[in-house]
Amino acid sequence: MEATTWGWLVLGLPLLGSMIIACGWRALPGKSAGWIGVGAIGLAFVCSLGALLALLDQPAEGRQLTDSLWDYASAAGLEIELQILVDPLSVFMCLVVTGVSTLIHLYSLAYMESDAGYRRFFSYLNFFVFSMLLLILAGNFVILIVGWAFVGFASYALISFWYRRRSATGAGIKAFVINVVGDVGLVLAAFLVVRELGTLDFLESFEAARESFTTNDGVVIAICCLLLVGAFAKSAQIPFHTWLPDAMEGPTPVSALIHAATMVTAGVYLIARMFPFFELAPTAADISAFIGLATVIVAATIALVVTDLKRIIAYSTMSQIGYMVVGVSIGAYTAGLFHLMTHAFFKALLFMAAGSVIAAMANRQNIDLMGGFRRAMPFTSVTILIGALALAGFPGFSGFFSKDEILVYAAERGGMYWIFAIGGYLAAFLTAFYAFRIGFRVVYGEPVKEARELEHGQLAHGEPENPATGEREDTDVGFPGPEHHIAERAWPMRGAMAVLALLAVVGGLIQIPGVNHVLESFFAGTFEESELFHIVPSAGAAWAGLAAGALMAFAGIALAYLCYLRSPGITARLQQRFSRAHRFLFRKWYFDELQNALVYRPMVALGRFSNAVFERFVVNGIVDGASGVIRGAGSVVRGAQSGFVRAYALLLIGGFAALGLYFLVVAS
């Protein structure tokens, strides 16, 4: 079959799964909804493989294939079609998305088993995968925007999944509002593209851009900056990042899927896809890279101090996405996307393991309350360690190869780009530290009460309460279910985590510098025309960079060992000594307060003003005024309906006289 046909199947299967579950949920017995969801995405993964194979059959230059189902709109000189673009970049993303999604669906089979909203969950999850695939496979700006918006909605639906929790719905709204801000940027960028280039199709607009724009033309910079607004809102980069930590209110599989592996990588995908525009506007690309770097460092510092387990991992995601953003902005497309893939593996693994640990802690997420699970939950402990090692960039694991490749490329480009290399290594040190903060804290040390009980086979069972605020809840629909599922007792969770652990270990081996370059030659089909793509660091420089990365990893792990295992009191003392700095980091660099003051409060004030003044006087004045005028006119006209026959006769004769006068005047 043709690659594009496989592409349509990849799109259609998750949608079909979502619709079947959504429409037939009453008829689906037991856990079949979950199996339908898993099956749909699993088949989509198989079709992605099919698309890959079909694409590889094509000659190396002809690997950008488009296909359209029908004309979406044809107006105002624009031809917009329901079009997909199947090329190495989109097939790569499809494979990553469908592969990781299948595993997460499998995990959710067990994790969400006792939840009353089980079927709704799988419908939403399938719909999310469909929208992400739509975004990835889009062949023109319109379908991209549609997919972008759907992803935002799916994210909102899933974050607010436990919708009777106030904190969850608030977090969902926050995510959605920030996403919409990004949507606006994206749409404006599309407007500019269509105004300057006259086409919304990707390949055509890339061609036209190369011809019409000069380097650093003001319009191209504007387009790129607007695209960046969209990308950063979706990928949680500064200043649009505040929704991501709050999004941990959603169930753990949601965090694993959306906020580790797929949705937040949409921004990275966008920058990579729009590389012709970014290479024509190096200024915008540099802005993007600097913001990415800032996010890397800020998020890493915050992850050092927050105490909620899922939020540490969320900030870690933010930081790693920053790496990817830096990568694709400075031209290291292969490296950035490679890191996207490996990050998906180990971050999803970490989230899954975190879900298991939180379940063992009866839904409590504070890392200060955890410790010593290595005997009670051996499988989970091993996976946490594997994930942490990959995240830290320990030699041999997947993160080692991917993250440092970006930094090596930055060094290779030289000049100003050394900043990225240095900052990146610094952050790598911090990353290793907080990765093993999690690892040592949860796995090693003195077992806490829940761990000791679990060693004797008793799973902790607390009163259902909101982990953030502590308020009591029940376990009916809209809240988490009554039972907690840990990996040791549920084979779907173990299966998914095992596959991801394996991938986290060996996933880096496809792009070892000097040995093989599978991804690089694969991506040549998309990035052929980019100059930056062809800058390849020498093997020697690459290995030097990898060695530096390994050094950072060792240093970070050693420091974490020191702080958490050798001398456990150090962190408490440091907290007291540098309490101001600690508070600054703990309050997330006061970004939430900044947004509150700059955006939220003025908006609320504007709303109040609009209601009190504008609505009451202007709008009601106009509307009531219009109706009042008509009513007044009506009452005037009503005066003529007096009921007096003689008055009517007067009007009659008067009219006749007027008519006669008119005819006399005309005739003369």
Binding site: Q641, G643, F644, V645, R646, Y648, A649, I653
Partner: protein
């Protein structure tokens, strides 16, 4: 006399009749003023008939008389009915068309 004289007289009688319809309040008198107007029309018709030399105008005038008679019959019937039902014979009191 030229036809013009007759026509001006007819116009004058018509205007007088119109004024009477507008000014009087008794339905009976209003009907009488209507008769005035109809007859003014008749005069004009007959004058034209003379000036063209054909009798079509006179036949027309005859038919107008028939119509006037019928209308008078119906109108007077209305007035009698009103009187029987103790409705005051004043057009200004009958305001059913109001609003």
């Amino acid at each position: 006399m030229d036809t013009t004289w007759y026509l001006v007289l007819s116009a004058l009688l018509f205007a007088v009749g119109a004024g009477g319809v507008l000014v009087r309040r008794s339905p009976l008198v209003i009907l009488l003023c209507l008769e005035l107007m109809l007859n003014a029309g008749n005069l004009a018709l007959v004058a034209f008939s003379r000036s063209t030399g054909t009798e079509d105008g006179q036949v027309f005038a005859l038919v107008v008389m028939v119509v006037a008679a019928c209308e008078v019959v119906v109108g007077l019937g209305l007035i009698v009915a009103m009187f029987r039902r103790r409705v005051p014979l004043d057009v200004d009191q009958i305001r059913g068309l109001r609003g």
